[in-house]
């Protein structure tokens, strides 16, 4: 029995759907009136006065990714041996306030990581010399002042403060050991400083909506495009640029995108958005990551073509090991390979994506469908508040998984959502939970898999055809813009009226420029919102 054949009809009606039993928000594209159901209905945020988003968070704890990247850039000599922060969990983007707790555990981790870093830095003489700034003849108090003057603007991302400087200098009065010991205290204090561990954007003046300072705008650029704080080279480079001028800011962003750190940052962004950022990068998983990384870099940086190629490209970067894993002809060495037939294309055909939303023991058409709908089309389909069936139930021995799912999910109110979810998932089901093409269910040759599904009533089979439907979908462009605004903002801005308006404007530009993702990035940077804040 083919999977998903029954799911098309309701999907055809999606545009005028009334889904009373489904905890979902559909048509999340910019300008749409959302259909809110149940728990996820939230009051829209009315901040901002001009009908567009004023990014109102003046204080955001850095994600551990941002901290680690910053430290690696500042102290590359230590990057291979440094103690790292423990991994933090997140649902979509790691820089959102819901996932960046700045309390006790984080403070303890920062204390350990930073004190260890300082100790290691002291063991690298050339590095330590560059940190200390002053020569061996300089008095400790003078040295501490010089140290503060040199490092505070970089690490605190603001001008130094006279009162604080005096406190750093006063370390010289304490019996801390050698002068290097005193500088160690000073360095650790800057690295554990609230201004270092948080993004502080207060803007200038005292009005409700303020313009960011030059340094704050530079910080936004750097965190957004490089995933880290500005380093001294960038600070110097930006000195002659009027970052308050939109076009100048955009041009500067273009230059920043030429740096290797932009490639890493945009890989991280896509891995989080598509949903494979936490995959184990070991064994064949390492090759899957590389496959996706190569695609993202090719589309965004090397060919700079339409972003649609992210989902349509019929070539893939395969290592011999990954090709064997996929049961494809193995290249002699890692290289781009043309994918002929088989239904693969673009990132949805990668093992990274296909292995990300599995169920126990097998694929999960539901999870795959949910993540395609929610992540790529910005719908908000969630578990219902009251489950009518055991969602971990398993098929009886001998029963085909497909039939089991169709039976279970067709029950009562479940059917409405599951047709939307499983319809997508069944279309990908000819690829198992490790991204390998298959003809039948695991250990059940009698259970053939058709791999046919529907997205909003339109039939497809496999990642290549789904990718085509995605990029042609009216919600795709708005969702690309929405997710980028959310990542930039650091909170779930999908229900923020101003954020929606901003994303809507950006998506129009995205459509007008032929789905040029880099163009979208620049448009976001050049937006007035980029340089404004409304402290709360």
């Amino acid at each position: 029995m083919a999977k998903g054949n029954h799911v098309g009809l309701l999907g055809l009606l999606l545009g005028s759907l009334s889904v009373s039993a489904c905890t979902a928000e559909l048509g999340g594209g910019a300008g749409d009136e959302s259909l809110n159901f149940g728990e996820n209905s939230a009051r829209e945020d009315d901040s901002g006065e001009d009908g567009r988003l004023i990014v109102g968070r003046s204080l955001r704890r850095l994600s551990t990714r941002e901290i680690e990247n910053t430290l690696d850039t500042l102290f590359p000599e230590l990057s291979g041996q440094r103690l790292r922060f423990p991994l933090e969990g997140y649902e979509l983007f790691d820089n959102e306030e819901a996932h960046t707790d700045n309390g006790q555990a984080f403070i303890e981790n920062a204390a350990l990581v930073m004190s260890a870093l300082v100790e290691q830095a002291r063991n690298v003489p050339e590095l330590w010399q560059s940190i200390e700034v002053c020569d061996s003849e300089t008095e400790t108090s003078v040295c501490l002042g010089d140290f503060y003057d040199a490092w505070a603007p970089i690490l605190l991302r603001r001008p130094g403060d006279a009162v604080e400087r005096a406190q750093f200098v006063a370390l010289a009065e304490l019996d801390l050991g050698t002068r290097s010991d005193a500088v160690s205290v000073a360095l650790e204090a800057l690295l554990r400083h609230a201004d270092f561990l948080h993004r502080v954007e207060l803007g200038e003046g005292s009005s409700e909506v303020r313009t960011l300072t030059h340094q704050e705008i530079l910080g936004r650029l750097s965190f957004f495009l490089w995933g880290e704080a500005p380093d001294s080279a960038l600070i110097i480079q930006a000195k002659s640029v009027d970052l308050h001028d939109a076009l100048a800011r955009g041009a500067f962003a273009q230059v920043m995108l030429g740096d290797a750190r932009a490639r890493v940052a945009l890989m991280d962004y896509h891995a989080q958005w598509i949903g494979f950022s936490t995959m184990a990068r070991q064994g064949v998983g390492e090759d899957m990551w590389l496959e996706s990384q190569q695609l993202i870099e090719r589309v965004l940086f090397d060919e700079k073509g339409s972003y649609d190629e992210m989902f349509l490209l019929s070539e893939s970067f395969l290592t011999p090991r990954l090709a064997l894993h996929y049961h494809l002809p193995a290249p002699v060495e890692p290289s781009w390979v043309t994918l002929e037939g088989g239904g693969r294309a673009g990132i949805l055909g990668h093992g990274s994506f296909l292995s990300s939303f599995a169920n126990v023991g097998d694929t999960s058409p539901t999870k795959r469908g949910k993540n395609v709908q929610n992540r790529l089309l910005c719908r908000n389909i969630q578990l219902p508040e009251v489950s009518e069936v055991d969602v971990d139930a398993a098929p009886e021995p001998g029963q085909c998984y497909t039939e089991f799912l169709e039976d279970v999910h067709a029950q009562g109110a479940c059917a409405t959502c599951h047709e939307l979810l499983d319809g997508v998932g069944f279309g990908l089901d000819a690829f198992d939970r490790f991204g390998v093409h298959r003809e039948h269910e695991r250990d059940k040759e009698e259970c053939a898999i058709a791999g046919e599904g529907f997205l909003d009533g339109r039939p497809f089979s496999g990642p290549a055809e789904l990718g085509r439907l995605i990029v042609e979908h009216e919600d795709f462009g708005p969702c690309v813009a929405t997710q980028l605004v959310r990542f930039f903002s650091g909170f779930d801005s999908s229900r923020d009226k101003q954020a929606k308006n901003w994303a809507s404007a950006l998506s129009e530009e995205f459509a007008a420029n032929g789905h040029d993702f880099v163009g979208l990035l620049i448009a976001l940077v050049e937006s007035p919102e980029f340089s404004l804040v409304a402290p709360r």
Binding site: L59, P86, G89, E91, E97, H99, D101, N102, G103, Q104, A105, F106, I107, E108, N109, A111, L112, V113, S115, E164, A166, Q167, A170, L171, E173, L174, D175, L176, G177, D181, V185, A186, E188, A189, R192, H193, A194, L197, H198, L202, T278, M279, A280, Q282, S355, S356, A358, V360, G361, L383, E385, V386, S387, D390, D392, A393, A394, R433, P535, R536
Partner: protein, 507 residues
């Protein structure tokens, strides 16, 4: 038995020199301490596992055959580690290798205490299904959590967020004690975690919502925070140690006022965001101060060493974990946290603690702790994974050995610390181990999601808690065990919508 010490824990070098600095006005006062006569302590532990597996109608392997003394009856399979090594001898047949294969129960290194006289098993409890009082909106992962730990029905059925202050927070606020040590032994979500899966501590925000309180996952970081700079009083501090302590203090003396300066620059909403940060920094400082005070039985615990590396990986079933994935020596992490927890209490650095052995709906790889190929979640559902003795319940019981063994270790450790003649730290404690779900009929079959047959382990002598027995509280709400513990430690026995104490839990 740890030697009782009559000595002064010393933080060296911090005081005099810093007194001349001009920014002492930024230092926060120490939080109010509980009255010296009040020795009660509260410890809450958690395992993201149900009491039994799906579709296995045999009685839970967790529940002893009869009520009364644990010592007078065989320990069920789940609880065998409470009997010490000599009572943890089991072997089980292993479905992967066929019926003839016998695998010994995994038995990690280290002390395994016989704590049958010090732990009570509470069974038969029930969390109602639906949207009533202190209910689970649905019997599914996370659905029971809010009702269990805050006594409030969840507003988000698929989230583990608690909708009221949890018992550890109530204890802190009531006693005015230092913040709890909050630890999570599971190193990573292994690809299957959701928001709020790694904490079960929440504080009411006064507006109908709650704020999660994060737990520490790094034993090394916690050790550094608690005991870095600790100099045993029977040792003479070297000049280098004095200076090292001064440096630690020096860093704090710079960053605490800096955080207050930042706070002053922020708007109201953003200041609230910085509050936890300020509290955390103040806690670090107060911990240093607390080391200056004389506390019997306080000594330096062993350093846990570097944190075990995090393996990553994604659960789902055994075959989805590459070799070595999904298990980052959680047992070692738990042991390290417990060692620190016990000594921090002995040193009176804190009076409450929480320890999550695993996340809600944990996907820990079950193979290292049990020998069963499969993740902990799927083992509970009896899916396409190995089974012990052909039984989903036996498989779940083997998964219980990890939290039960280390809960026993905690109890044994607490009992080994003499805080006064004929009184141990355990006598001053109320400690409990709780689980994500029970085992009962749901949707026509036995389910690992059910709120029936919820069980808990209870230990500690404070307030007259009854120890060493199996106590069946049939149909009672498991939050009432927590309210009873609150009562035992001197707090009002109220947790959300659940109030009062269970008289049968007391002598």
């Amino acid at each position: 038995m740890i030697k009782q010490l009559n000595r002064r824990a010393l933080l060296l070098g911090a005081g005099g020199a810093t007194l001349s600095l001009p920014f002492l006005e930024y230092f926060l006062p120490k939080p109010a301490q509980a009255a010296p006569a009040d020795f009660s302590r509260l410890i809450l532990c958690y395992s993201g596992q149900a009491m039994g597996g799906d579709r296995d109608n045999s009685r839970s392997r967790f529940v002893p055959d009869s009520e009364g003394s644990l010592r007078s009856q065989p320990l069920p399979l789940s609880l065998q580690p409470l009997g010490g090594r000599e009572n943890w001898p089991g072997t089980y047949t292993h479905s992967r290798h066929g019926p003839g294969f016998k695998e010994p129960v995994r038995n990690w290194e280290g002390e395994v205490y016989d704590v049958r006289d010090k732990v009570s098993v509470v069974s038969g409890m029930h969390i109602p299904l639906g949207n009533g009082v202190a209910s689970a909106p649905k019997y599914h992962h996370r659905g029971t959590v809010s009702a269990h730990f805050s006594g409030k029905t969840s507003k988000l059925a698929d989230k583990a967020q608690c909708w009221g202050s949890t018992a550890d927070v109530i204890f802190e606020d009531t006693m005015g004690s230092a913040p709890s040590l909050r630890c999570v032994a599971q190193a990573h979500n292994y690809g299957n975690g959701a928001q709020y899966d790694n904490t079960f501590s929440y504080r009411s925000d006064g507006n109908g919502g709650t704020d999660p309180i994060g737990a520490q996952v790094s034993p090394a970081a916690m050790y550094n925070s608690l005991f870095g700079g600790f100099i045993p009083p029977d040792q003479t501090a070297s000049a280098a140690q004095v200076q090292a302590a001064a440096r630690r203090q020096g860093v704090l003396d710079l960053i605490l006022p800096a955080a207050h300066r930042l706070d002053a620059r922020l708007g109201v909403a953003d200041r609230a965001r910085l509050e936890a940060h300020l509290d955390g920094l103040s806690t670090l400082r107060n911990r240093i101060d607390s080391l200056e005070e004389t506390v019997a039985a306080c000594e330096l615990p062993p350093h846990p060493g570097d944190d075990p590396s995090v393996t990553g990986g994604r659960g789902g079933d055994g075959s989805s974990f590459n070799e070595g994935e999904g298990w980052s020596q959680e047992n070692k992490r738990a042991e390290a946290f417990i060692d620190m927890m016990v000594m921090a209490m002995a040193c009176d650095m804190t009076r409450s603690a929480t320890l999550m052995f695993s996340y809600h709906q944990s996907f820990l790889n079950g193979e290292p702790p049990t020998g069963l190929r499969g993740d902990q979640h799927q083992i509970g559902h009896g899916g396409n994974v190995d089974r012990a003795n052909g039984s989903a319940n036996d498989s779940v019981a083997l998964c219980h050995h990890y939290p039960v063994r280390y809960f026993g270790y905690l109890v044994g450790k607490l009992a080994s610390v003499e805080v006064a003649p004929d009184r141990t730290l355990l006598d001053e404690c109320a400690a409990g181990l709780f689980f994500e779900a029970g085992h009962g009929m749901y949707e026509g079959g036995m389910s690992a999601h059910s709120g029936d047959e919820m069980c808990a382990l209870l230990a500690g002598g404070v307030g007259g808690l009854r120890m060493g027995e199996h106590i069946r509280l049939l149909g009672e709400h498991p939050a009432s065990v927590l309210t009873s513990m609150l009562d035992a430690v001197g707090c009002e026995p109220q947790l959300g919508d659940i109030g009062g104490r269970q008289a049968r839990l007391f002598v």
